[in-house]
Amino acid sequence: MIRMYAEIIRIRFLMMLAYRVNYYSGILIYSLNIGAYYFLWTAIYGGQGSINGFTALQMATYIAISWMSRAFYFNNVDREIATEIRDGTVAIQFIRPYNYLMVKVFQSFGEGIFRLVLFSVPGMFLVSLIFPIQLPGFGWIWLKFALSLFLGFVINIQINILVGILAFFVLNNQGMLWAKRMIVDLLSGLTIPIAFFPIWAQWVLKALPFQAISYLPSVVIVKDLSGSAFWGAVGVQAMWCLLLLIPIQMIWNKARHTLVVQGG
């Protein structure tokens, strides 16, 4: 079982290497984004010490950390699932003795680790040379961040799977996929930290799973959360991990029984 999943991760590494150009252009795009947001936020701060509990230095760190985290948790598994359903290749997956969704999770995990090691870590190093950001030194905080980031990854992939398998019912769900991507980037706190939203919106966002993908892990490291603040954040993430299993299982069961294979 474990060897099979390890093999799936290895295969994904190979596939990422087969598409090197994507990888290089990714580095460029992420650097541009970090740069753009960095200058935008410096302009907004305009020399002010602190806005909504974030100092300018923390804000810069937040931007760098949350984009580099995105490189890890982001994947196109929703699009892959939807495409496989639409063109009927999903049938091939059903003749294999494994759980299709688990395979997708591990594929994405392989992709995530690939980008974390070959992209985020060197990228972070470069960014810390160019922009004044403040990262904690070696210590427990990195382990806490790793746990929080991993949970963020799980929640993101659960949402992706959920949107992807809806293609079983709505065969053309391109629009839904785009909307989801925008919603996740905006509501997860990637573009604007949750603390910068109006109070009422913060309440709404805190009741949604998206902030648990990006905002919570980033805050853990930027604000150096500890004790109950840290466990509170991780607890919210863990809760979403469990809650999201329910709709996935329900839709998946229904989908398995009503599967229509496109194109013969």
């Binding site: 060897r3 093999e7 295969i11 049938a91 091939i92 003795p97």
Partner: protein, 336 residues
């Protein structure tokens, strides 16, 4: 235990119908009308281990739907189904370890990766022990002659090369039952013959049961002793290939080219008492239809020559499987 056992196996699909025009489209937004289509209608099928069975039918006859139920991809609407002793859909993960599948129109190899990477992944997926995996794979590589393809990405292979790799993939875990859905589609004659030979070999050596759907009746004639014919979701014939030919082949035709023009009645007189039919095709060319088994070709020819008809050329024609099948569908006959 039977390899495949199906009783009253049925699959229905819900398809929605769109109403006409713009107002119809608006009404469709609110409530859609559904229509039930029965793709497979209460078919009974039993296949013994080691049999090679051809499963034929026109497009849309329900072949693919049946294969998808037999492989556990689709859940049957009703009926009993046991394949290799399992309920394919309910016990899918255990069941699929015992079968191999080749979809001619879909690749199961990883498109961007070298062929051997796919093999290695599948070894882990099926948890095949190394000491069993290596000799088996090596043999298939030799027989299918794919050694030099192993380190090439699948997208660079030709269709014939890919299909040989697909076959190796589907047999990597030594399944006792192999489903082939259009395995020779788009292949040239030589590759087709190689693949047929390979299938005959594994059937004989490993007693692998093979269920084959194809539009190429050459495959069926070369491989299958038994055919199951499907039409509009119903099985209309299940039995011997030879019997199908005998009963539906309309016998044989002898085409004669003669040295001079004969009157039809003159020719008919030569085969007096035999149930054959004469027909004039062109100048100097006549055709004799020799039906079924009641009369043999040499007997007919013997008589014609004995009567002194001067023959220049002679051709013997037999209905191909293709013609037989076309005839059955055109006439919409039910066989039993």
């Amino acid at each position: 235990m039977l390899a495949i056992e199906a009783k009253k196996l049925t699959k229905e699909f819900q398809v929605y119908q769109s109403r006409k025009g713009l107002s119809g489209a608006f009404r469709d937004l609110l409530n859609r009308e559904y229509r039930t289509i029965r793709a497979v209608n209460e078919i009974d099928l039993s296949i013994e281990p080691g049999e090679m069975v051809g499963y034929i039918g026109e497009n849309g006859a329900g072949k693919s739907t049946t294969i998808k139920m037999l492989t556990g991809i689709l859940q049957p609407t009703s009926g009993m189904l046991k394949v290799n002793g399992y309920d394919p859909h309910r016990e899918r993960e255990k069941f699929v370890r015992t079968i191999g599948v080749v979809f001619g129109q879909r690749s199961q190899l990883w498109w961007d990766l070298a062929v051997q990477e796919s093999f290695q992944l599948l070894q882990k997926v099926y948890r095949i022990p190394q000491e069993k995996y290596e000799p088996h794979l090596k043999r298939m590589i030799d027989v299918l002659n794919i050694q030099e393809l192993l380190d090439q990405p699948v997208r660079k292979l030709s269709l014939g090369q890919r299909m040989r790799c697909e076959l190796a993939t589907s047999l990597i875990h030594q399944p006792s039952l192999l489903f082939l859905d259009e395995p020779t589609i788009g292949l040239d004659v030589l590759v087709k013959e190689d693949i047929r030979q390979f299938l005959r070999d594994i059937n004989q050596e490993l007693n692998t049961t093979v269920l084959l759907t194809t539009h190429d009746l050459g495959d069926i004639e070369a491989l299958c002793s038994r055919v199951v014919m499907l039409d509009k979701g119903n099985i209309i014939y299940d039995g011997d290939m030879n019997r199908l030919k005998r009963e539906w082949g309309d016998g044989k035709r002898i085409v004669l080219e003669t040295e001079r023009e004969y009157e039809l009645s003159e020719l008919q007189a030569t085969t007096e008492g035999l149930p054959v039919e004469w027909e004039k095709k062109a100048t100097h060319t006549y055709e004799i239809k020799v039906p079924g088994d009641q009369v043999q070709v040499p007997e007919v020819l013997g008589r014609v020559i004995a009567q002194g008809i001067a023959i220049q050329e002679m051709q013997l024609e037999e209905a191909t499987a293709e013609e037989i099948v076309r005839k059955i569908y055109q006439e919409g006959m039910t066989l039993d």
